[in-house]
């Protein structure tokens, strides 16, 4: 646990110093929202219906790139060997990277989501707590899967296409549920969100647990 915290602090310190990932992801998020909003060019009354799709599409793009970037930090100078040579539980490494990715993607949401609201004429303040919950649950599940498989693809020549290829099918149930839950929250029908939130929670529990348990067996070669 202490090791996990040390890794999280280390990553955040690097990120704070370079601001590389957070900045590029935020700008990318802005561009994606712009493109998606303009591509649809909706009537004003139909615009709010687009918000869930825009938010989660942007999430997929920025998330995949962000998670991969987080591993390039360990690639340079073969730092992964340094971590693997330390007497720590591999699960701590997985959980630390998971936390860092959730934080980074959370920071991206903080830019993307208000901007989507602005472009698509939706007032988000009134539903902020519920929306934040949905975003958190969706992001956690996304990061749980993407973090696990980023360890796989970081060693491949074809990693840029392999990461989305591996994780997007697995993430489909999560994305369906996240979009439905976001729709329900924005429509003010929290009761409808119940089942979708259930899927999100179940997905998070299953994949965080699976990641933590399978990760040691996976990298121990």
């Amino acid at each position: 646990m202490r090791a996990a915290l040390a890794i999280v602090r280390k990553d955040l310190r690097i990120e704070w110093r370079t601001r590389e990932t957070a900045t590029t992801l935020a700008v990318l998020g802005v561009l994606l929202v712009t493109v998606l909003a303009f591509a649809h060019d909706p009537e004003p009354e139909a615009a709010p219906l687009l918000v869930p799709a825009v938010v989660w599409s942007a999430m997929v793009f920025t998330g995949l790139l962000g998670v991969e970037r987080g591993f390039l930090v360990e690639r340079e100078q073969d730092c992964l060997a340094g971590l693997r040579g330390a007497p720590i539980d591999p699960t701590a490494l997985y959980l630390a990277k998971l936390v860092v990715n959730v934080l980074l993607l959370g920071a991206t949401h903080a830019v993307v989501v208000p901007l989507s609201g602005l472009f698509l004429h939706v007032e988000l303040w009134s539903v902020l707590p519920a929306l934040a919950l949905v975003l958190f649950l969706g992001t956690l599940g996304f990061a749980a899967v993407a973090t696990l498989f980023a360890f796989v693809t970081v060693r491949l020549r074809t990693r840029q296409v392999m990461l989305p290829l591996l994780v997007l099918p697995l993430l489909m149930p999560l994305l369906i549920a996240a979009v439905k839950a976001t729709e329900a929250v924005l429509g003010g029908t929290l009761a409808v969100a119940g089942e979708a939130l259930g899927v999100l929670v179940a997905f998070d529990v299953i994949f965080v647990t699976a990641g933590a348990l399978l990760f040691p067996a996976m990298i121990n070669d």
Binding site: R157, L165, M172, L174, A177, A196, I206, F207, L214, M218
Partner: protein, 227 residues
Amino acid sequence: MEAWLGLVGCAALAAAVVVALLVAPAAVGESVAQRILYLHAPSAFAAYGCIAVVAIASAVYLWKRSAAADRLAVAAAEVGVLMCTLVLVTGSIWGRARWGAWWTPDPRLTLTLILWAIYLSYVLLRAFGGDDEEIAPYAAVLGIVGVLAIPAIRVSARLMKGMHPSVLAPREGGSGLTDPSMRLAFWGGTVALLLVAACLVLLRARLERIERQASALRRLADAAEGA
């Protein structure tokens, strides 16, 4: 072993097709397209069977590092993708004939589509992941995780349907098969396709073993030449 499985499976499949097309009476209120069910449902059973084999073999591999389990997982994944493709194509044709749409977000079709995508990505990872022994543990994790996703897929696929107008009448499975010859075609077809799938998996696993031996020998020869 594989040869017998294949022979018996193909013979059973042929028999099931004959029963399905010629013997079984038309289902009440259904067109002739309904008969595709006798291929559609069995291939779904075979697909899910293959996927179960991938997951179990992957777990055994991670646990015991058994190369045989790894080869079995590779083989079952490929055949599983093939069977899933069959399910999707037959389902799509049936859907077109019955509801006029090639694709409907029916929960079971969605589940099959997502599983198809997951195990296709497994096959691609094996194909482009480089060295077999190096990629095997990672692929094994994917093989296991794919099955863990099934509950979430099932529930979320229902969410999707909830948002669409229901174009689906409740689909009848075996229970709607009133005539004994219908049941014979259905279950006979299932057994036949399971046998064929098992045969393909075993053949593919054997091919995988031979391929790995061949590439090991080739590299050995290269190394001897280079030294």
